[in-house]
């Protein structure tokens, strides 16, 4: 009896720890070790400008991190092949943070020892915020391709006066923007009167989209009849979807990633739900995760419009280099992030500053902030007061099992 409770107490502690981790969206349940991949040699030499990519190339959600890494590597290689920055080579160090905030800060500290002068990363929202908290101390230029939570650049999104991390930028649009867009689209474009939401509790991304959707819906007389949640790792949404089906809303907003979204849609249809499903950029690639029949009419917003002229060259290059088509919008956004950063590095280098110095970093940040309609492959970039890009969203509709670009909204 005594022995058993002791063993169980140990286990209980472990279970709670794992449970805690599982609660933080985007972190894996494993206590991972620090393994960082690294290319290139030790210290920065003259004639080189060293930057780092930090992102999750392994672990849950590596399907977001790998395309980001690939696109950044591809941009830097293309840049170097075309003479680099004023004849200087851009050296890119790569670190894997497994989507974990602690690992990304560790990676940052390692990268700093290598004399980096700017960072592309991280990929997931949670890790990016942790990284931003560290880079802001050093005024290290940082640009993320994919972290969409308001709290990445703004210190406290709830409080507009809390200030921003002036060194942090992003190439994607923010969560509140997506939630608002989709509520707007539902009410004004689809004529919806009622909506239900299924979100992932504990995920910054999911809760950010949900909150802004609810706020915008209230403005637009779109009634939110149910707000259901699930925990990270859940696969069974039958109970939630049965409940939502009973309320028969016009639209169901799923601010979650495609794997869970596919399940939610399949289970919703099984429960007899006939509503239109709406999603954010996490829906990219959803066509493989539910049947064409169940998905028909599903709409989501995305950071780029696949197959259009501006990305055609990039898509061809990516496929040639990596042997697979561009998997999601994070690759082109990462390409733009790398482009914006390298443009800023060039500006700082033009000013005759030494890479790695504080003045150099400040010049990079100033150039990023000063972008005014710089054309990338996913759209044109200007940054607002919170260092968020001002761009329009591409609406993607699922038709006959294919994800089709419908309009910029």
């Amino acid at each position: 009896m005594k022995k058993m409770s002791k063993t169980l107490a140990v286990v209980l502690a472990l279970v709670l720890c794992v449970g805690l981790f599982a609660g933080c969206g985007g972190t894996t349940a494993s206590t991972s070790t620090t393994t960082t991949t690294q290319t290139g040699t030790q210290t920065a030499e003259s004639g080189e400008i060293t930057i780092a990519f930090i992102g999750n190339t392994t672990g849950d959600y590596a399907q977001y991190g790998i395309p980001v890494r690939n696109a950044v590597v591809m941009y830097v290689e293309q840049l170097n092949a075309n003479g680099g920055i004023n004849g200087k080579t851009v050296k890119l160090l790569e670190y894997d943070d497994k989507g974990d905030g602690i690992e990304s800060v560790n990676a940052y500290n390692l990268a700093k020892d290598q004399g980096i002068t700017a960072i592309v990363g991280s990929v997931l929202t949670g890790a990016t915020i942790a990284l931003a908290d560290a880079t802001v101390e050093d005024n290290m230029p940082q640009i993320t391709a994919s972290a969409t939570a308001a709290g990445v650049t703004q210190i406290d999104p709830e409080n507009p006066d809390s200030g921003i991390r002036a060194n942090v930028f992003r190439a994607c649009f923010i969560d509140p923007f997506q939630g608002e867009k989709m509520a707007d689209y539902a009410a004004n474009k689809l004529g919806a009167k009622t909506a239900a939401i299924l979100f992932e509790s504990g995920s910054d991304y999911s809760e950010g989209l949900k909150d802004s959707f609810v706020a915008k819906a209230a403005e637009l007389d779109l009634e939110v009849v149910a707000t259901e949640a699930f925990a990270t790792g859940d696969k069974d949404f039958n109970a939630q979807m049965t409940k939502i089906a009973g309320l028969n809303p016009d639209v169901v907003f799923l601010p979650i990633y495609y794997g869970e979204a596919g399940l939610a849609i399949t289970q919703g249809r099984q429960a007899g739900l006939t509503s239109t499903f709406l999603g954010g950029d996490g829906f990219g690639g959803i066509k493989d995760y539910a049947t064409a029949e169940d998905l028909e009419g599903t709409v989501y917003c995305s950071g780029y419009a696949p197959g259009t002229d501006s990305v055609a060259q990039f898509e061809a290059d990516y496929e040639a280099k990596y042997g697979e088509p561009v998997p999601n919008m994070f690759a082109p956004l990462a390409y733009d992030a790398a482009m914006l950063l390298c443009k800023a590095l060039k500006a700082a280098d033009d000013a005759g500053l030494a890479a790695g110095s504080d003045e150099f970093k400040a010049a990079v940040i100033a150039d990023l902030k000063g972008n005014d309609g710089t054309v990338g492959i996913t759209g044109s970039y200007s940054f607002d007061e919170f260092n968020n890009p001002i761009k329009s969203a591409a609406m993607i509709v699922v038709k006959d099992g294919a994800e089709v670009f419908s309009e910029l909204y």
Binding site: K2, T7, L8, V11, L12, G19, F230, K235, D236, Q240
Partner: protein, 293 residues
């Protein structure tokens, strides 16, 4: 009313998978006092086996199912032989840590081999379609999940209570030393227990894939934890306890969601674990164990 009936089916569907997984935990704990944390990950491997058999090699679903169950069973025995047998006389904590290590090995190994993204076989499902039961539509997968689980549990109860091997298992769990003196082969019995537990995990994997169409490297971790809570709630080491615990957790999760508190679903499940450990650590059906001197 229709909603109520659907929710009952949802609860039973969820509960029967928890129960199948909890059985594996409970049987292994009953026999060598090991919380086999790799158990949830055996389900993950079974799910991948099903996915690859159907989607990659185009095998008949039935062949895929048999293959998945076979692979899960062999994997369970292999883990026992490679990782746990050498530690049989080591302290319990070493075994526990080894189990966690095996779990990480499987999770990260799967990620390395199969990639981190979720594999979906929704386009070629094992079970598709819906049934109309008195005006209520339920998915065929849910019905099959519940029926197969119940059959598996009845078969297990029969096996443990009526067969010679079952008797040996019970004897070993009662008193390992005495059982050995009575001429029971310890190695064989323990391997057999792992085989049965993993066989059930294999069935759980197939049913999981049948209901949710997906395989991902981390799918076993949360499922395993919830099943562990189910096993503790039912009384770890007790076979009927694991079944009761599994269904209870499924019902609780569904009830919490129906009550509009889906945000708190996992919180409630783990709160149950804490309450059970504080109030009645032996669970619903567990026997109090006396420390032998």
């Amino acid at each position: 009313m229709a909603d109520f009936f659907s929710q009952v089916v949802n609860a039973l569907q969820l509960g029967s998978i928890y129960a199948l997984v909890a059985l594996g935990y409970s049987m292994v704990y009953g026999i060598i006092m090991l919380l086999n944390f790799a158990h949830g990950d055996i389900i993950m491997v079974g799910a991948y086996a099903t996915y690859f058999a159907v989607c990659q090699y185009g095998l008949h679903p039935l062949v895929a199912v048999l293959l998945a169950v076979l692979i899960s069973t062999l994997l369970g025995v292999l883990i026992e032989k490679a990782a746990y047998t050498p530690l049989r006389s080591a302290p319990r904590l070493s075994l526990l840590i080894t189990a966690i290590g095996v779990s990480f090995l499987l999770e990260n190994g799967a990620q390395l081999l199969f990639g981190a993204d979720t594999k979906s076989m929704v386009k070629t499902p094992l079970i598709s379609g819906t049934l109309n039961l008195g005006g209520v539509t339920v998915s065929l997968a849910a019905v099959i999940t519940i029926v197969v689980s119940v059959i598996a549990m009845i078969a297990l109860t029969f096996l443990v209570q009526k067969t010679k091997l079952g008797k040996a298992m019970r004897a070993v769990s009662e008193d390992m030393g005495a059982a050995q003196l009575m001429g029971i082969s310890l190695n064989r019995t323990i391997s057999f227990t792992f085989a049965i537990g993993s066989f059930l995990a294999g069935i759980g994997a197939v049913l999981h894939v049948g209901s949710y169409f997906q395989a991902s490297p981390m799918m076993g971790s949360m499922l395993g934890l919830k099943a562990f809570v189910a096993a503790v709630l039912g009384g770890i080491g007790s076979i009927p306890g694991a079944m009761i615990g599994g269904f209870a957790i499924g019902i609780v999760e569904t009830l919490v969601t129906v009550a509009g508190l889906s945000t708190w679903k996992d919180g409630v499940v783990f709160a149950i674990l804490i309450v059970v450990l504080l109030v009645k650590p032996t669970g619903i059906l567990g026997r109090p164990m006396v420390e032998k001197v």
